[in-house]
Symmetry: C2
Subunit: 222 residues, 2 copies
Amino acid sequence: MLAYATTSPTPIGYPTGQTAADPGDLWSTATRQTFARNRAIYSEGDRADRVFKVVSGAVRTFQLLEDGRRQVNAFYLAGEMFGLEATGDYRFSAEAIVASQILVLRRERLSTRIASEPALMGDLWRMTASELERAQAHFALLGRKSAVERVASFLISMGERTGTNGAIELPMSRQDIADFLGLTIETVSRTMTLLEERKLISIPSARRIVIRDRRPLMALDS
Amino acid sequence: MLAYATTSPTPIGYPTGQTAADPGDLWSTATRQTFARNRAIYSEGDRADRVFKVVSGAVRTFQLLEDGRRQVNAFYLAGEMFGLEATGDYRFSAEAIVASQILVLRRERLSTRIASEPALMGDLWRMTASELERAQAHFALLGRKSAVERVASFLISMGERTGTNGAIELPMSRQDIADFLGLTIETVSRTMTLLEERKLISIPSARRIVIRDRRPLMALDS
DNA sequence: CGCAAACTTGAGCGTACTCAAGCGCAGTGG
DNA sequence: CCACTGCGCTTGAGTACGCTCAAGTTTGCG
């Protein structure tokens, strides 16, 4: 699901045969910062002058409606980049879910690097395109799926992303999950219990989910 | 809302001071194709070897779940680009909503152009980033808004995009709108009627909506 | 150990859905 | 000119899924 480094069949931005610099090495000049649990990394309205990459920990990006309703747009885990979409000002906020180490790259510095290595621009574009695809895939979940389907999708996806398919360590709260899936915390909780009763998962502790029967869970994912 | 040509405060991809080529001129070498109403432009699984720009008409991109549930990801109107997000294969489908003229640009050709004018890559990235922001903004609607809020948001947005703030000519059916907003066709219809009863809009004909009182409609938009 | 925060469970409710019928309009043919 | 047909849209009645409000339980941490 998170194949940030996928190469397009017809690579754009550099002649075929020539290979792009490792996007990871973009980050060699970035500064590493530590953010405490629930600490803001950037807020809606801040000038979008940095891009980020998670070293350890987890991050949520979200938006708030006037009346306090919250929509979590995405979770970012170790190795994942965020803040790419912002052009002028950040239109969403980002917070550390748990204590996290984040690589912070100033956009000016990025510009300089790209000026000397134009291929990096293509990498940046592909990462953003990837993120866009991920976002669009989330539409069907929010617009058309039932609560069970949403939670099943979420667990499958988290299992794949953390690599630890089977036993999943959730960094985020039920409230975070609810706001990501467009549900209430109660519905998320009830649905987890339901999946456990159906023996599809087990819940040794609230933040630890074990996938017992992957097949029917994936069927729910649609 | 659709400021594809926005320049980032710290432009990335070309040295400051140097200005990018007009992204519009990208399309000078594209071929123009006409698609009839409901004709597929590309389908999920097709190789993503082209990008598109609407000249006239309207396009929907969407995904289908196994059981036939449909989520419309976006509508594209005259002047708007689509198909940017696809890397390997298209993961969504695109169809003409009404008879439409579409500029079709092969990615190979795009690559060639970019090789000689690297600044174009930056434009491509900014357009994709813009599209990503638009997608993320749609999350709050799908995840957290009521039916009235969704329909109000939609009408406001369509009013702004078509320029004809006030009298909106809708190219898409109620079903398309429902699948875009994550509602059923009945709820969309009922909600339109409700807004008309409240004198916020009038509906001279199903495809023609006039915004009578913008203020409370925007308040609903949140 | 004690407290607060996070999570779970329960009961009742409401919004949007499902199923179904009816309406309106454009196109076609008698 | 009007009946007929088909499609898109609207309206109605009943239902269900997820929400709200509330209480209770568990967990983590000082």
